[in-house]
Each structure stands twice: as C-alpha cells, then as structure tokens.
C-alpha cells in the first residue's frame, strides 16, 4: 500500500464564468509517473499549476506531500515550491543573463545555499558538462530544456512537474529528455506528473488521465 503524494477532493478552479477545472478527485501514489492528456483548453495546465503551488483553487481540498496548500500563505507556497517541487515548462524558461550553471545555482540559492560543484555535476548528469558557461541564447532548445531539468532536480524534489516539456522539441531530443527523466527518477525516486499532447510521451508513464473541458473523463494504466 503506497501513500498518496497528491490528494484532491472536489478540486475546482474557475475564472469568472469559465470553469477551467470542474470538481476533481484525484489520488497520485508516491513514486508514480502520471501523464495528463487532453485537448487544448481542457484544464491540464490549470491542474499542474494548482498541484505545483503556483495557483490557488476556487474550491475543494488539495494536499500535496501531506501539506494543505490552501492553508499556505504566499511565501509559504514559495517555500513549498522550492522545497518540494521541481517544475519544467514548455518554453525553456531560463534567466537570460545567467549561464547554464548559474541558472541551476539560482534554484539552490533560493532553496538554501548555492553550490557550484553540485550544480556542475547536475549539468554533467544531463549531458551538458561542456556547456556550463553558456547563456540561454547560445544553447539549443533541447539543451535549454535539459538545463531546466537539472535545475528542477537540483534540490531533490519529491514531485517533478512538466507542462509539455517536450512540446517544442523534435523527436530525437524528446526521446533524449524522456530517457534522462526516466533515469533520474530511477535514482531519485520522485513522483512525476507530465502534461503532453503526444501519445508516445504519455506512454513513458505508469498511468494516463484524460481531461476534457475540465473533467477527468478517462484513465488508462500502462502495462510494463
């Protein structure tokens, strides 16, 4: 019996009249790799942002890692994000004036203390040991995404969130990133939630849920 790292009850998020996420009950066991699929506007990012402590629900309850996110203040949510979550976005969001290694160190700095050696070895792990001093403008899309992965895992998060992390990548880079994530998860044993439009990418997970217009309409367990 594995404990749930995420537990939602009637989790709802609406923007005025638009209900982006209809009351949702979802359990994610610790260590699971969950893929989230659905057409555009179905509420995938909304769900990710709520779970990652970047947004607040309109109604319902939301516990992540035993923490009641609704009870946290703004700074409390910031602490939750830096201690518990690693986030990878679709756009390669790096601070433009910092080098690869400095972008990784930034996450360490907000978390506790920057450690350049550790940041460097994290980049080596994602295969970027030779691009440490390059700024985002000098890196390819796949390379930038790997910097983001290094930054996301540097503080050993319990939960890794990816909102279409491979959305902008070609097939080869996508496979590279997914393999990297799989390897890292095997070592670090974090839980993964990944939004994707790509069936093949979803297939890397243990389970896939399908959202439609803010409602969980279907879920599918992967074999092997």
């Amino acid at each position: 019996m594995v404990e749930s790292i995420i537990e939602t009850n009637g989790l709802t998020r609406s923007y005025g009249d638009i209900c982006a996420l209809k009351p949702l009950d979802l359990q994610v066991p610790e260590g699971e790799w969950l893929s989230v699929m659905g057409h555009s506007g179905s509420g995938k990012s909304t769900l990710m942002n709520l779970v990652g402590g970047l947004d607040r629900p309109t109604a319902g309850s939301l516990r992540v890692g035993g923490e009641d996110l609704l009870a946290l203040s703004e700074d409390g949510l910031a602490r939750f994000r830096r201690e518990f979550v690693g986030i990878i976005f679709q756009q390669h969001h790096m601070v433009p004036y910092l080098t690869a290694v400095e972008n990784v160190m930034l996450a360490q700095y907000f978390h506790s203390v920057p450690d350049e050696a550790e940041a460097r070895s994290a980049l080596e792990r994602v295969g970027l040991g030779h691009r440490l001093k390059n700024r985002p403008g000098e890196l390819s899309g796949g390379e930038q995404q790997r910097v983001c992965i290094a930054r996301a895992i540097i503080n050993s998060p319990k939960l890794l969130l990816g909102d279409e992390p491979t959305g902008n990548l070609d097939h080869k880079s996508t496979v590279m990133v997914m393999e990297l994530l799989k390897e890292l998860r095997a070592e670090e044993r974090f839980t993964v939630i990944m939004v994707t439009h790509n069936q093949d990418v979803a297939a890397w997970g243990d389970r896939t849920i399908y959202l439609d217009d803010g409602v969980l309409v279907r879920e599918e367990r992967m074999k092997s």
Partner: protein
C-alpha cells in the same frame, strides 16, 4: 550569488542601468550643488544685504542732553577710519505739524531730510548722500523732491488726506505755515508711510531748528558679528581693542562714527541684522525646498525607468518565483541592484555637484568655495533616498507578478 545575479543583470541591460544611474546621479548632483552653495549663499547674501539699508543709528546722547546733533558735523562722517565702508547716510529732523490739504486736516509728523544731496568734503571725493542712497526700496509714485518747497507724502497719510502727486498741502507749526508741492507718494512698508518728508533746510526753518538734526542713519558694510566682536570694548586689552577697532564689526564702525559727531551716541540697528537673518532663513528654506523637489523628480525618473525595465523583466521574475523565490528574495535582488547603482550615482553626483557648486559660485558670486566635509555623506544618502523612493512602486509591481500568467505554457 546575489552579486553574481546583479552583476550579470547589469551587464545584460547596460542602457536601463545607465538610465537609472543618470537619474540618481542628477538628483544627487543637484542636492550636492544646492546644499553646497547654500552656506556660501547665506554668507554672501549677508554681505550684500548689509549694503542696503542703514545699520547704524546716531542719536543725541542722553548724557549731553542737547537733544540735537549738528548738521555741520555730518561731512565728517566721510572722513572717519571706516569711511570706505560707509556706503551712505542721511540726517533726519522730526517735528509735529498740523497738516492740511483740500479741506482735510490732521496732526502728523514732518521729517526734514536729505533726499539726494551732493556732498563736497575737502580732501575727499564728492558724493551723493540721502534717503535715495540708503533706502533703495522706497517706492515713490511721482518723483523725489528737488526744490526747497517740494515734499513727498507717506502712502497712508496721503490716502487719509486724499493727496496725490501734483497736489499741494500746508504744514503749520507754532503759527508758521509752509506750503509744499507734493511731488510724490512713497510706499516703504514701514512707519515712514505715516510721515511727510521735505528737504531738511525747509523743515529746520519751519521748526525753528536751524542747523539741527534729530538723528542720522548710517549704512555701513560690516562683517558678521563673531564671538570676539560681541565682547565689550571697555573690558578689552589694548591689543584686543586695536584688533576690534580695525575689524569692520557694526559696533566698531558705529563707535568710529560716534567719535566725529559731537554729542552723539551710535547704536547698531539690530533689527536690520535679525531681519537679514530671517531673510536668510527663508532663503535657506527655498534652497531646501528646491533640493527636495530635485530629489523627488529624480526619484520619479528612477521609478519610471525601473517600471519600464520591470515589464521587460517580468518573465525572469515569474521564473524566479516559480522556482521558489519568496518576496524577500525577489526584493533583495531588485533593492540590491538599485542600491548598487545608487552608490555609484551618489559618488558621481557628488563630484558633478561639487563642480556645479563651483561654477555657480564663480559666476554668481565671483568666488570659489570650499565644499564642507558633510557634503559627501549627504550626497550618498540623498542617492539612497532617491533610489529607495524610486523603487517602491516598481518593486510592488514585481511582487505582484503572478508566475502562472507570465509563464503560460
């Protein structure tokens, strides 16, 4: 790490940093220049002010009991030790007369005086002495008297009697009546507006006080009183007295004049000095106000340019927040940036402001100034104040950025 972030952020956007730097430097420069010359201005203005208006009053001494000074002694004032410091003087003879004009009548003061009298003193340069010279603020509607039977009337008295320039009035003393042509109405802002002013010689004959004078007002260039100047000359040693006598204190010039006017006692007019003091105080508050205004406008400029770069930087701020930066950590980066710029801006502003103060003091006052020591910390502090005041709004904006909205995937 904070410094690494700030350093790289600076290198990435040199123009935005330059803009903020310039705004802060300008503010600090203006503050430095204004505060730097404020002291100098006070000093120079004090000297300038002393050349206007009388600051020494000569009266008959009570001990002698004569009640009057002698008009014949007046030219001697141009021969005293401090003669070159005496910029002007004028005698007065006061009397009470029945003054009537156009059917209206009242009791009032008639003053005999010099308006602009050509004074020839043997062995000295000829000069023009009189009210015109020592009271340049007197505002005469009409013209100054030139003939013996011409007079000017104080504005208040003129109003009551209904006289204007061109009218005539009679002054009666002890049964003797003299008719004057009113050639002007004078506004002074003081008690003089209640009086009638006529040439000294005419008033002397009307009052039957030939050759006599009630008081003399002397305007002298003096140095500000210091602790030594305030000492009582009577208790000084010979050397001290000599030093005192040879320093142009208002008291020593007064003493000097007193010596040549038989039966006189000279008093410094302290009201003039204290009025000057309050004027200087006002001047200082104007300078302070302008300084604050300059700082406010440069803080506004800082705020505007930070605001502009803030919208450009919102993705990076959103990213930092998403990665887990709390408000304090975000603030540290932006406040750190502006503080570093403000130190540089303060130093450059100080150097510029010092130059500016030098230029102002050369062109306006024809002198160089030594900048006081406290000016440097003041410049740095004003740069800090500008930086912090200018950061408040942009920082609030930064803290309100919602990562979810900016980082939409």
């Amino acid at each position: 790490m904070l410094f690494r972030i700030i350093k790289n952020s600076f290198l990435k956007r040199p123009k935005a940093v330059l803009l903020v730097f310039l705004s802060i430097a300008m503010g600090a420069a203006v503050a430095t220049a204004f505060l730097g010359i404020a002291g100098e201005i006070s000093h120079k203005m004090a000297l300038e002010l002393r050349s206007y208006g009388a600051n020494i009053l000569l009266e008959p001494s009570a001990a002698q009991g004569g009640g009057f000074l002698r008009e014949d002694d007046l030219p001697k004032i141009k021969t005293v030790f401090w003669k070159y410091n005496i910029t002007g003087f004028t005698p007065y003879l006061f009397g009470v007369a029945d003054i009537s004009a156009g059917g209206k009548k009242e009791r009032g003061v008639i003053s005999g005086t010099w308006f602009a009298k050509q004074l020839e003193v043997p062995g000295e340069d000829s000069s023009v002495q009189g009210i015109k010279g020592i009271a340049p603020w007197w505002d005469v509607q009409g013209r100054w008297p030139e003939d013996a039977d011409e007079a000017i009337v104080g504005a208040t008295m003129a109003k009551r009697l209904g006289v204007v320039a061109g009218k005539e009035l009679d002054a009666t003393v002890g049964g003797r009546t003299r008719r004057f042509h009113v050639v002007g109405v004078v506004t002074t802002g003081g008690y003089e507006e209640e009086q009638l002013f006529a040439p000294l010689i005419t008033v002397q004959s009307l009052l039957q006080r030939q050759g006599k004078v009630s008081r003399v007002l002397v305007s002298a260039l003096t140095v500000p009183m210091d602790d030594f100047g305030k000492k009582d000359p009577a208790s000084m040693t010979k050397e001290e007295y000599e030093k005192w006598y040879c320093t142009a204190y208002v008291t020593s010039v007064a003493k000097n004049v007193e010596e040549v006017m038989a039966g006189s006692r000279a008093k410094p007019i302290w009201q003039i000095a204290s009025a000057e003091g309050s004027l200087l105080k006002k001047l200082n508050s104007v300078m302070l106000f302008l300084t604050v205004l300059a700082l406010v406008s440069s803080a506004t400029a800082v705020s505007t340019s930070l605001m502009a770069s803030m919208s450009e930087r919102s993705p990076e701020i959103a990213l930092m927040k998403a990665v887990g930066a709390d408000r304090l950590q975000i603030s540290a980066i932006f406040v750190g940036e502006t503080l570093i710029i403000s130190i540089a801006g303060g130093v450059v502003g100080y150097l510029l402001g010092n130059q500016l103060a030098g230029i102002i003091s050369r062109t306006v006052f024809n002198s160089t100034i030594a900048s006081p020591l406290w000016l440097f910390p003041t410049a740095i502090i004003s740069a800090f104040v500008v930086a912090i005041a200018g950061s408040v709004v942009p920082l609030r904006r930064a803290l309100l950025i919602e990562p979810v909205r900016v980082l939409k995937g």
